[in-house]
Symmetry: C5
Amino acid sequence: MRQRAVEAAQKTLGRLGQIRKRHKPGAAPGTLLVEPGQPPARLWMMAWDEHQLTEAELERVDDLRPHLGPRRVMWLNVDGVSDEETLRKLGDLFHIHRLTLEDVVNVHQRPKAELYPDHYFIVMNMLRYNDTLETEQVSFLVGDGWLVTFQERVGDCFDAVRERLRQGRGQIRQLGADYLAYALIDVLIDHYFPVLERYGDRFEDFEERILETTSMDLLPEIRTLKRELNLLRRIVWPQRDALNALSREPTPLISAETRVYLRDCIDHATQLMDLVETFRELSSGLMDMHMSVVSHRMNEVVQVLTIITAIFVPLSFLTGLYGMNFNQELPGNMPELNTPYAYEVLLGVMALVAGGLLFFFWRRGWLSMGGGVLMGERRRRD
Amino acid sequence: MRQRAVEAAQKTLGRLGQIRKRHKPGAAPGTLLVEPGQPPARLWMMAWDEHQLTEAELERVDDLRPHLGPRRVMWLNVDGVSDEETLRKLGDLFHIHRLTLEDVVNVHQRPKAELYPDHYFIVMNMLRYNDTLETEQVSFLVGDGWLVTFQERVGDCFDAVRERLRQGRGQIRQLGADYLAYALIDVLIDHYFPVLERYGDRFEDFEERILETTSMDLLPEIRTLKRELNLLRRIVWPQRDALNALSREPTPLISAETRVYLRDCIDHATQLMDLVETFRELSSGLMDMHMSVVSHRMNEVVQVLTIITAIFVPLSFLTGLYGMNFNQELPGNMPELNTPYAYEVLLGVMALVAGGLLFFFWRRGWLSMGGGVLMGERRRRD
Amino acid sequence: MRQRAVEAAQKTLGRLGQIRKRHKPGAAPGTLLVEPGQPPARLWMMAWDEHQLTEAELERVDDLRPHLGPRRVMWLNVDGVSDEETLRKLGDLFHIHRLTLEDVVNVHQRPKAELYPDHYFIVMNMLRYNDTLETEQVSFLVGDGWLVTFQERVGDCFDAVRERLRQGRGQIRQLGADYLAYALIDVLIDHYFPVLERYGDRFEDFEERILETTSMDLLPEIRTLKRELNLLRRIVWPQRDALNALSREPTPLISAETRVYLRDCIDHATQLMDLVETFRELSSGLMDMHMSVVSHRMNEVVQVLTIITAIFVPLSFLTGLYGMNFNQELPGNMPELNTPYAYEVLLGVMALVAGGLLFFFWRRGWLSMGGGVLMGERRRRD
Amino acid sequence: MRQRAVEAAQKTLGRLGQIRKRHKPGAAPGTLLVEPGQPPARLWMMAWDEHQLTEAELERVDDLRPHLGPRRVMWLNVDGVSDEETLRKLGDLFHIHRLTLEDVVNVHQRPKAELYPDHYFIVMNMLRYNDTLETEQVSFLVGDGWLVTFQERVGDCFDAVRERLRQGRGQIRQLGADYLAYALIDVLIDHYFPVLERYGDRFEDFEERILETTSMDLLPEIRTLKRELNLLRRIVWPQRDALNALSREPTPLISAETRVYLRDCIDHATQLMDLVETFRELSSGLMDMHMSVVSHRMNEVVQVLTIITAIFVPLSFLTGLYGMNFNQELPGNMPELNTPYAYEVLLGVMALVAGGLLFFFWRRGWLSMGGGVLMGERRRRD
Amino acid sequence: MRQRAVEAAQKTLGRLGQIRKRHKPGAAPGTLLVEPGQPPARLWMMAWDEHQLTEAELERVDDLRPHLGPRRVMWLNVDGVSDEETLRKLGDLFHIHRLTLEDVVNVHQRPKAELYPDHYFIVMNMLRYNDTLETEQVSFLVGDGWLVTFQERVGDCFDAVRERLRQGRGQIRQLGADYLAYALIDVLIDHYFPVLERYGDRFEDFEERILETTSMDLLPEIRTLKRELNLLRRIVWPQRDALNALSREPTPLISAETRVYLRDCIDHATQLMDLVETFRELSSGLMDMHMSVVSHRMNEVVQVLTIITAIFVPLSFLTGLYGMNFNQELPGNMPELNTPYAYEVLLGVMALVAGGLLFFFWRRGWLSMGGGVLMGERRRRD
């Protein structure tokens, strides 16, 4: 259990530590410090006009040119951000600022939206949950009639949108590149909710286990949970802020129709924030509660042991008393020892003392408190 | 006790987890993903002009048309949000944006208010308290001369308003649909107060029980309480914000007269916020206090047991002393054992030692601290 | 002690729970739900012009009319807010909105200020401290040349102002109704300071007692203190905000001269806020400190008892040793028992062991820690 | 130690409690409620023009008139704020609002800045640290060519400025009364830093002592520290706000040159805020840490005592075993007792048991945990 | 371990305490209170135009004049801020306000940006981590065509920029002094990230050690960590604010091109803030967790010891029982003692009792809780 938690913690912290690791301090701003020997980026293009949709995997950026033009919309998805040449050519083709390209390459950016004269740039985070929380930066470059998205790895959550494009359902082929960008961001945000549902399940699970457990097993897991919620929050808040800022920009690159949809998207991002904050609050008391319960269980045990001692100590005193060696032939010295059946009487007295103490403890509720443990009442009681 | 609390927790968390569950990630925005095979929605209409009021349950949306018109006000209440056809027809009739309809269907929205050119859209939450906190989304669509409300289930808190409409008391039939919407929201918010009163009672109850209890019984209940207050807060704050935003919109759809009433309604929503925040603060110390009291009670017990041991240990030493087998015939070896009545003297010494220790403990206040438990003083003392 | 605290808690909570209790959910807004059979309100009027001051208790609202007029100022104080007829007549006379009257009747409003075209409405809270914190809503209606104040009960803190009016001292008769309203609010706020001083005394008292106490006596009192400060804060903050909002309104109903005084009044309200926040911060650590001290005292006791045991356990081992029944006639078996004066030597060894342990504990500082309790050093030490 | 801390606490709290004590609730605003029989205020004047500087102690306010005039700057310092006549005359001379005079008299104002048509009014707090934190209200009235400062007591931190005035060094005699006011405030704020340095020393001291201490000695001191930081914060924040507000006022009474200096002064006030907030954060964990360390030390002791018991209990069992009185003449009954040298063998067994337990405890690290205390390792270890 | 931590704490606190130490309270503002006898500042100049770059160490400030001029950019780096003459001459040459020079000399300023008519002034902090956190103030004075930077000590992180200047790579020689200032600040901020990575490592390290440790070793280190994060926060926040404020100033001294880069720089500063806040949150629970784990380990030990006692106490009772001296010749008195093989039977009974208790404790899970310690399970378990 702990092994998994520690690994999760390391991943999460590693993620924090890695931030901007690729960027060598001191390099000129706008330098694309891609590691050499990386596989080329995978370019997948979809382009359409009123009449038809073309879909193709491109070898080179230049193959893109025929698909650009007025009354056409082109979506290029780039998987992999380490292919310097492709990035540079795309930068030339769409007049993208080198700082923007740097932000595309240096993943682990804060979600943000930036407006340039003829395009805008959005950084979002795609969320996945496989044992631990994984994020992948997705960058959107939206111009008039074209959209370029960059992902760190192959594989995303956009297939539903692709299918809608292919089938021409809904408005997605009527409205421009700005609506497409919205549609992708909407899907991306929608995929946060199943992840947050998992956290809901984990909370229920924790509550159960905290009341059962007697050791500090859950400590690292709770720490990891808090750290993941912290990471989530660091993603979700700026994401909402970025969308909000974008929706307030008076740019012609976003149509009035898309703005209505964007508002809906911001609503969902706000719901995410609400959920994350709720989980954070719930998690805040978890650690204290865990430590309290563990400490209580341990005290219960000590109490039971102390009860055992407290019952036998007076009995041992009595045995010690009649083990004394006073000269019984002198007057007044320990006549009990020379009384017939005195032994049985003493045994009876001892039983009375022990029983009396047990009764007293039971009446005080101590047996039902810690001592209840003795009676196997624990499971039933709470 | 615990069973109930865990169930309540599951419901509350479930509620959090369910958020947007119906909405399949990746579906086109504006898709009404209603589950098939649902019973049709129940449409109940009230319409009136200066002279008279008509009230009817409608079969189809189209039956509504005769009741619309200038100088008339129509209120349609729809119970059930899973009837796709009805929703679509209403959308067509009143020019409602598909995203708005999606928000109506996907209950668990954050309370909000949105303004469209010829109508506005308000999402509120109706509160009920049956053992656990239950919320139901109520959506208001307010146009010029018409109001449509959507509820998840049959049954609401609006009967008083219906009665006022039927009897024509007050201004409710003179003023338009905007005043009616206000009147409904006012009633809805008024129904929060009895629920919050319940929380007041629960706090009093908790304070009592925390001082009495000796086990960790209350732990899950306190957690549930905190979670419910958390949920309440997530509802109450955006509700106030939504009303506030609405009151500041310069739309002709809200008359000056209604605005005055709206201001009053915001006052009440602010009071709700105050109450919820107060309860949240009160609840924050509850858990610590509970754990402290339980731990204190347990320590009291351990202290009493330790006192028993501390009294008998010196006595046992004395018995051990005179149980030694030194050869009494040699000079100096244990002359006490050969003294008449030494046994009785020793018993007296033991009584003195025990009494002295008890007196010492009593003077130090330890008997009145933990030991007071021994004297049955606990109930009276605190 | 506890009884009083619980009662105080109930009152405070009751206050929270009562909020808007009188207002039946679902009643038409503006309905004056006064309980029937209430005694009529007591109307006390003061009116003056340049030349003279008239003062009278009125039977009916209509008796007021002669005293209104240009160049005159009239102050009507109404004790009791359950007299529906009086309220209705005053509403007609001064053109008061029915929602305003509702706010007058439904005491427990949040402090607020509302501006109407020809008058403004202020809700404040009068504070009293008799064992527990008591608040009373005072509503001010200020028009051009008239001021109406509503109080829940007979008895207030305004006598000093009445006296100043009668004697014509200061500017109070030269300036208009707005200045009079300010003067009353100023007095009302001034009366908060003695109450807060009491809290200062209680804090000093708590600090003393917390260091002395050994049981959880103070727990309910600290809870009550926190709750009262919570309540105070809920009153003091909106009070300041209301005055602030009022001072920024560009209404001719408040003269420039009065505005200067209002600014002073806001300063005092801000000081109140400072004080309440300070007390809240001080109170936040009180509970933890109390529990820590109690737990420490209890541990001290357990430590002393453990020291007793730790000293006697080795001694008892020795007595046990020489109580064994090895056959002393066999070689090597317990020759000590057959040594003259061995008993005395053993007693000496025991004394040495006991003394050595005591010395060791003393050197380690344990006797001065928990054991210092044994020496009666506690009072002096801390 | 504690005595001093309690006194300090009382002073600090007293300070809080005294706020506005002099002001009798209900008095007319602007009333100067000075206590009768106070010594007259001490008036010290410095006035200069381009050519020369006059310095004098004045008997009466009227002696001031010759020193006022265009192209002259006059600084009057008033020590003592209980001399009603002086205040009234100054008020008449400089047209000071009576509420301003009231603020001068009722020390314990929140720091603030108020602008009047022909002068402005600043309230600051002078800080001193003699065992406990002491504040003194300094009020500044700045007009065109004149500055009046009011202090509660004789003695201040302005001598350096006076010297600069006398020597005519720097710009202080070229620039007007506004620059002089700035220079005084700058010195006043500079004198906060040595006080805050003291707190830095106290924190270092606390950290040291907390790790050493074994009793709750530091509790009252930590409480006092927190309270003083609280008080400091209540002074430092509004001070910065007041200066900030002043610097933003577009008044001709503050020259452009002085504004640059004022900005510098605000920087210093912001640094103060930073420091106070830092200290507050550091102090927040101090109490918990103290209680934890004390509780840990006490548990260490209990652990050592328990180890003693745990070693002797099995040994005592063995002695008890061979102290039984089974009839050794019957077969099988305690043959050990009749074995030669069995006693020595048993002693060896006991030594082995004790040694084994000690070794076991040592291997588990318990002797180096609490038991390390036994070895006198404590000082070296941590 | 502790020694290092205490030293680190002292340095950090010392840093806080030193703030403005050099500035003697009461000195005239703008006084450069440099300590006499300091080595002269080291002046290193780089200047370039379209054609070539000159680089030189200067003896005197006046040697700078030939390098200033239109179409040229000059960067002067000053190492050491205690050379009064150099500062004064620079002030004269570039018309720098004396308050600005004072800020350069009095290091430990809050990061800030100030705009003057013909230049602007930025204060940043350079970060280094050698065992403890070290900061060095770097001041930037940026004019039209010139940039002067001041550092406290020789040695910085700007070598990469110098190299870029020499090689003429990138835009750095095309763009003006404002871009150069940006480039330096960007590098300075980039160097924060490796330091923060170290904190990430320390957190991982702490988490590991906290679960292993059994004494309070980590306490001072955690305190130091928190204090350093506190210090970091005090630097990072105003740094971002300063850059933000600068980017919003509509000054011609910052070109549009540079503004784009500045925005990127602000993004990085915001990321820093995020990281620091994340670390602060993570650190907040660390102390509690540490104390809880230590306390739990200690309780585990006490529990084991108590189990030992609880097993032997009943056994000792039995030995005491048969050590009693009842006269066995009388009827009924201790017939067991005269039964053959009773001793062996008793030994068997004792083994059963001990085994039964152990079995009972094992079934209750107590051996796997604290007693698991006995089985050496600790390492494996958690």
